[in-house]
Amino acid sequence: MAVWCAAMIPLGGCIFAFRDFDDDGSDGEPNSGKILVRMINASLSFGVDPELYATGQAVTNLNTDLFVDANKKGGFGDYGTGLLDPGQDAQIEIDCGAARVVGTRGGRFLKRSTGEVVATGQQRVVSQELQFDCGDVITITYEGKGPNEATTAIAVSRP
């Protein structure tokens, strides 16, 4: 801890100054930087709702701590719909402090003409400090070959 004598005061004493920290006792965020999440719709027949979720909180139950609407990521894809057309890919950055756990329910593969869900992929979830670190790239690939035949893969790389 940094301690130094900032100013001598009369009568032989001095003022001690300590490392700054906020009135509430914090001294800033320990985690800065971002991760990049790439989503690839490798299917040439179906659209995909990637069902991407991220949270900065501890996760002790995926359904209640991660896969909730407040954690769902959107704003990418055509017109920011959060949907990927066949063959399309998209990427988003997420603050590392908000990406303690990142995952997908598996993705929903959609028939383009009707929006009907024809298949769902497999749930994939990764944790910061275990499978990835701040600054890494997470790539999720969605592949749908036919009705009820879809696979979802997740990979981590370091740029």
């Binding site: 009568l11 001095c14 001690f16 920290f21 006792g25 965020e29 320990p30 501890a58 002790t60 402090g97």
Partner: protein, 159 residues
């Protein structure tokens, strides 16, 4: 500019360079009192989970609502992505006594980064100075868990 002694006050050059808290008595003698001993805080994770330690520190005596209404104290986790303790990890940090009049832990979370299981402890601990600890004390928060009986707890001790 050279400082000159005044009256019967005797101040040695060496002493003027020393950073100590002191007062001048009526007789003109300088009475030095050393700064109060710092407080050591030790966080001990005896569980097999990653633990969100959820430590709060205030430089004033405050009640539980005020303490836990502020930000979590994270300075001890500098360089870490999150203010968490790994399984079996112990962390120690030192605060000047003036910086810590109230310290507490609220509802720490125990999580498994691979299986996404665990739980939140209901425990809340508030310690204040001088009622519960003094300058120079070592405060220990020990986190433990038994998931078989859904037990997640933190206990404190003062050495």
């Amino acid at each position: 500019m050279r400082e000159r002694p005044s009256g019967n006050r005797v101040v040695g050059r060496g002493l003027r360079a020393v950073c100590l808290t002191g007062v001048v008595s009526v007789s003109g003698c300088i009475l030095f009192s050393p700064p109060p001993e710092p407080v050591t805080v030790r966080l001990v994770n005896n569980s097999g989970f990653v633990v969100d330690a959820n430590v709060y520190v205030r430089a004033a005596v405050v009640d539980a609502g005020t303490l836990f209404g502020g930000a979590i104290y994270t300075a001890w986790a500098t360089g870490r992505p999150f203010p968490t303790l790994r399984p079996g990890q112990s962390v120690e940090f030192v605060l000047s006594c003036e910086q810590i009049e109230t310290i507490g832990v609220a509802e720490p979370v125990f999580s498994d980064l691979l299986t996404f299981t665990g739980g939140r402890s209901p425990d809340r601990i508030v310690l204040t100075r001088p009622a519960d600890f003094a300058c120079g004390a070592t405060i220990v928060f020990t986190y433990s868990a038994d998931p078989n009986v859904d037990l997640y707890q933190v206990v404190s001790s003062v050495e």
